[in-house]
């Protein structure tokens, strides 16, 4: 079991990081920490994806001084996917941060449960 | 072309009901012209049904309206059993509508009332003429929907609570009956859920998963049993006594509860089939429940002080006579069940109409307020006497005929529970004697020291709940201004009483017709 883990170290680290990010996002009450947890989770996934494309002993898939055949480079597709992934994470993080700012202006608190209670009282009045 | 006559009596009242809902007549809220229109409409529909039945009710005339889903079609079929229920409802409805005109004179929103009242007529006809279980289920659900506004009519908080209880019980019951429908579709030998005398289950497949099917049959029995006020779910019927009398009389004594019993008869004899069910544990569970309801209903009726609630409990008990007959799973059992269905319809509607007449004239709804009304309202209490004697099962009246058939069927079926059933029926007849005759004796021979005793009886615990207390305070014997109600109320009453007597004295043709149905479907 151990040599499996040691063999593909990147995947294990990615999954552990994913777990950490997931629990932070789920359990923490502070909004900023939740967003940080989300980012940890996403980066972990992208680490996992990027490591999939890596082939030992091959170069980065950037064409330099005319080398053309495929076998010289690692598999570019996962890194492509990671790019789109990063775009997606950035946009969601931006949205959540703007929402957090808006909520902070209104309720002067970052604690999600507190915000919910304040919102409920505000609606009653 | 002649098959259209089967669909007409169902949709004609429904469409005219909807028409009445939306079409505002002239300026004034209610006129004799509209009453004539409604009565004419209802009588026309009854004639239509009689014509349809006269044109041969041997079961091969059918009309397929449209295909709901692959194997499920909405289909009407006129077979002998359907014609019995249809004929009964056709005979009662015009008279009940006539009665309702007089009764609803002082109420407002009469238009909506009569619209829904007529629509219920069409839907009950739909149940009677349904050719397969899906159509029956469809109209069974629509019946709940259409009768709900009638129960809610007074719109007091009590009526809303009663309406809500009625709705939850009915929808809940229908949901469980739906399981029965699905299994009948799944295991049917002919692919559709059409009613075939003697059952249409594909016996080969049915016998493998026999226990599951029996369990489903019991579920469907209790599902439809909700409307037939079977024991565990009967509470909505006494609560619905708060509705106006034409509603409680016609719906909760004849149309709604009888549809529940009719659906169970169809389910037992025409879908599952008696060979499959006879002698199984399902039959004992079902018959046990019916017997418990018979005993329970009549015992509760004796304790009830509010007159219409007492009659409602009596309906709970009497309906389970029909279910007891059905649970016997023999041709004679079906004939006895149908004979009680017919007899009880007349008896109970006559009793409820008397209660309604008294409420209409004097506003009194409690039994201890009826002192000495017998002499002042001779016709009403005369009919009440006839219906009470018949309910008790005194010979020469319709009640005795159905009890006689039930007992013969029970002895003929030879099952131990059948004999216990006869004993329970006689116990319940005794209870009926108690709760009906106390009303009659109090009306005709009120004890001279009436006032003190009535007030003290009103204060008895349990029987009278909170908002009845202040009603009990102003107890007075019948004031002198009391007379019989107008002809629109007394004529139906007298006709029903006469019908009870006719069935009691000359029941041979009816019973032979019913035995023929039983024999064919048994």
């Amino acid at each position: 079991m151990i040599q499996h883990l040691s063999l593909n170290i990147e995947e294990t680290v990615a999954v552990i990081l994913f777990g950490v990010g997931f629990t932070i996002l789920l359990l923490h009450r502070n909004l900023i920490k939740k967003i940080m947890g989300m980012n940890i989770m996403d980066t972990a996934t992208y680490l996992f994806l990027a490591s999939k494309g890596y082939i030992t002993g091959r170069a980065v898939p950037i064409v330099v001084d005319g080398v053309q055949e495929v076998s010289a480079y690692i598999n570019p597709v996962p890194s492509g996917l990671v790019l789109t992934g990063i775009v997606v994470s950035v946009s969601t993080t931006a949205l959540m941060l703007s929402l957090t700012i808006r909520l902070y202006e209104r309720y002067h608190s970052l604690d999600l449960d507190e915000i919910l209670i304040l919102a409920k009282e505000e609606e009653q009045t | 072309m002649s098959e259209i006559i089967l669909a007409l009596p169902v949709f004609f009242p429904i469409l005219s009901g909807i028409f009445m809902l939306f079409y505002r007549w002239g300026k004034e809220e209610w006129s004799r012209k509209r009453e004539l229109f409604i009565e004419g409409l209802v009588v026309a529909n009854s004639l239509l049904i009689v014509a349809a039945i006269a044109g041969g009710a041997d079961g091969d005339r059918r009309i397929v309206l449209f295909r709901l889903y692959s194997a499920l079609t909405i289909m009407f079929k006129l077979d002998p059993m359907g014609s019995v229920f249809a004929g009964l409802v056709a005979f009662l409805w015009p008279l009940a509508t006539l009665y309702a005109f007089e009764y609803m004179k002082h109420e407002e929103r009469k238009n909506t009332f009569f619209a829904f009242y007529t629509m219920t007529y069409g839907i009950t006809m739909g149940i009677a003429l349904a050719g397969n279980l899906v159509t029956l289920y469809l109209f069974y659900e629509m019946l709940t929907l259409v009768t709900l506004p009638l129960v809610l009519f007074p719109l007091t908080t009590e009526a809303v609570r009663a309406g809500r209880a009625y709705l939850y019980y009915s929808i809940g019951g229908a949901a469980f009956a739906f399981i029965g429908l699905v299994f009948v579709l799944g295991f049917s030998a002919i692919g559709t859920t059409e009613f075939i005398a003697g059952g249409m289950l594909d016996v080969g497949r049915a016998l493998e998963s026999k226990n599951v099917l029996l369990f489903v049959y019991v579920l469907a029995f209790f599902g439809f049993g909700v409307k037939a006020a079977l024991f565990p779910c009967y509470r909505w019927l006494p609560k619905a006594a708060v509705a106006p009398t034409p509603v409680t009389a016609l719906l909760h004594a004849v149309a709604v509860v009888k549809s529940g019993a009719f659906a169970i008869l169809r389910l037992t004899y025409f879908s599952f089939g008696t060979e499959f069910l006879r002698g199984t544990w399902a039959q004992w569970v079902v018959m046990g429940a019916a017997l418990v309801t018979i005993a329970f209903g009549s015992t509760m009726a004796v304790r009830e002080v509010h007159w219409k609630r007492r009659l409602a409990y009596s309906t709970v008990s009497n309906l389970s006579y029909i279910l007891f007959g059905a649970a016997m799973m023999t041709p004679l059992g079906l004939a006895a069940a149908l004979s009680h269905l017919v007899a009880h319809a007349f008896m109970k509607i006559c009793a409820f109409f008397c209660a309604g007449a008294v409420m209409h004239q004097s506003g009194k709804t409690y039994i201890y307020q009826l002192n000495g009304m017998g002499k002042k309202m001779p016709v009403t209490f005369g009919c009440l006497l006839v219906s009470s004697l018949s309910l008790m099962g005194i010979p020469l009246f319709a009640g005795f005929v159905s009890k006689w058939n039930l007992a013969q069927a029970a002895f003929d079926s030879g099952s131990g529970l059948g004999l216990v059933g006869v004993a329970v029926i006689l116990y319940s007849a005794l209870m009926t004697g108690i709760y009906m005759m106390t009303v009659i004796v109090r009306a005709y021979f009120p004890s001279l020291a009436g006032q003190t005793e009535a007030a003290e009886e009103a204060a008895l615990p349990g029987g009278v709940d909170k908002d009845d207390q202040e009603a009990a305070a102003e107890v007075v014997t019948a004031e002198d201004g009391l007379t019989d109600p107008g002809w629109k109320m007394t004529v139906p009453l007298v006709i029903f009483a006469a019908a009870i007597l006719v069935i009691g004295l000359h029941s041979a043709p009816l019973i032979s017709f019913l035995t023929m149905i039983g024999g064919e479907a048994g």
């Binding site: - | 006869v422 006689l426 108690i434 001279l448």
Partner: protein
């Protein structure tokens, strides 16, 4: 409606007359007109009954279903009961003309009085079990107004109790009828039983149960043990003439029903020696003993007579339960004698209440000075009931005892007569004190109340005294010349057993 129409008359005429009396306005106002019409109808009823009894034959009135018919028929038993009913009803009718002047709403009393006699005639003449059951139920309903005539609180309560006990008994019997209908073609009464053994093959146990249910059910009307509770409360509450008829004749309807069921439908030999017979004997003896014990300790005169009815009617049932010829003769003769005697006793009690207002026995000291002639008739009737030889009671008790001894029912054959004797002693105990106190009030009795109210020698009017006299004379004459009655009864017994 085929058959002899005359049978219909004794039933229809009084019922129609009763309804006319109830509905008619003029009967409310004019008392003389009311009583005249009533007595005339009773006389007519007596004549019609005699005519119907003479003409005999049978009549099917109505065909309920193909096997159920309402039919009337005449045989010896119905002749006996019909004549007894008609004659006693006429006498009590005459008596009540005077008695009812002290009550209000007389038209209602006489109306129902006439209807009940019509229904009783129907019951006597009924030819099958269904007709019997129909009239049995109708009799309960129509006799109810007689019980709650006074409309006092206890009267209504007693009336309801009477109704519910009788209806409970009727439904118990109905269970038996349902069963019997299943095992026989038509339930018409034929001496010696009408059930066909083929259908009875597997159901003996059920037959016994239904037989026992019918005996106990119909026994309710005859005041037999389990369902006798209504009798002591209902009778005293009713007016004297009504309670006389209730005790004397309506209880006999229960007896007739049991005779019909046991001897004419099920057949005596099917029940001989079974647990049903033993249970029945036990119940009757229990009632006999209990009735006379309670009567002995009862201070109110009418209640005492009601308890006495409970025990005396159980004499008859005991005779029937022996299922042998002599006991059967004793039982039927006791039906006649007890009916005559009980009417006399109740009518005297009514007379005493009317003239002096005394209801309790100890109040009635020195009655001999107030109404010697009435008390004399009372004494004759009392002696007859106790069973002193010249009077009729002795004859029936003699046959009952000898029947019991020869009935071969093991321990009952001697225990029965013993209980009868003890009960006869008790009967003397609760009937004779009135006579003794009446005639010999003892020397310290000053009778100041009688002088103060000038009651001495105030006999009741002739309308009341005549029927009591006739009844007392009949009680005595039947004892002296029982020949014709006994021979007729022996012929019935022979045919049935």
């Amino acid at each position: 409606m085929e058959g002899n129409m005359i049978l219909l008359l004794p039933m229809v005429c009084p019922v129609a007359a009763g309804i006319v009396v109830l509905a008619g306005k003029m009967f409310r106002k004019d008392r003389k007109y009311l009583t005249g019409v009533s007595v005339m109808v009773l006389v007519l009823e007596f004549a019609l009954t005699l005519w119907a009894v003479m003409s005999g034959g049978s009549l099917t009135m109505l065909r309920l279903t193909e096997r159920l018919t309402l039919g009337l028929g005449v045989d010896e038993v119905s002749r006996l009961f019909a004549v007894l009913t008609a004659s006693v009803w006429l006498l009590v009718g005459i008596y009540s003309v005077a008695y009812m002047s002290h009550e209000e709403e007389e038209h209602r009393f006489f109306g129902y009085y006439l209807i009940v006699v019509g229904v009783l005639m129907g019951l006597n003449f009924s030819a099958n079990l269904i007709t019997l059951y129909v009239f049995y139920e109708l009799m309960t309903l129509t006799s109810l107004p007689l019980v709650l005539h006074e409309r006092s609180k206890e009267a209504v309560r007693a009336g309801l109790k009477y109704l519910f006990y009788s209806v409970a008994g009727a439904f118990l019997a109905l269970f038996g009828i349902f069963f019997l209908a299943g095992v026989s073609e038509s339930l018409t009464f034929t001496a010696g039983g009408v059930l066909n053994d083929g259908a009875l093959a597997g159901k003996e146990g059920l037959l016994l149960i239904s037989a026992f249910c019918m005996i106990v059910g119909f026994g309710a009307k005859a005041g037999m043990f389990p369902l006798h509770g209504w009798l002591p409360t209902a009778h005293p509450v009713a007016p004297a003439c009504a309670s006389a008829v209730l005790s004397g004749l309506i209880t006999k309807a229960g007896v007739l029903a049991i005779i019909r069921v046991v001897y004419y439908v099920i057949g005596a030999d099917r029940l001989r020696g079974t647990w049903v017979q033993n249970g029945w004997i036990l119940l009757t003896l229990l009632t006999v003993f209990m009735g006379s014990m309670l009567a002995y300790r009862e201070p109110v005169m009418k209640k005492r007579l009601a308890y006495s009815t409970v025990s005396q009617v159980s004499y008859v049932l005991f005779g029937l339960s022996m299922l042998n010829q002599t006991a059967f003769v004793g039982a039927l003769s006791h039906v006649v004698f007890h009916s005559v005697i009980k009417h006399a006793l109740f009518l005297t009690a009514g007379a005493v209440i009317v003239t002096t207002g005394w209801t309790r026995v100890e109040q009635m000291r020195g009655l001999g000075q107030v109404m010697p002639k009435t008390l004399a008739c009372y004494t004759i009737a009392a002696l007859a009931l106790i069973g002193i030889p010249p009077a009729s009671g002795f004859v029936s008790k003699w046959y009952l005892a000898s029947g019991a001894l020869s009935s071969g029912t093991g321990v009952w054959s001697w225990a029965g007569p013993a209980v009868l004797l003890v009960s006869a002693l008790l009967t003397a105990g609760y009937l004779l004190p009135l006579t003794i106190q009446g005639y010999f009030p003892g020397h310290d009795f000053k009778g100041e109340e009688i002088q103060k109210r000038k009651l001495a020698g105030k006999e009741p009017s002739l309308w009341m005294l005549a029927p009591i006299g006739v009844l007392a004379a009949a009680a005595l004459l039947f004892g002296c010349f029982p020949g014709s009655l006994i021979s007729m009864l022996q012929s019935i017994a022979a045919s049935v057993l």
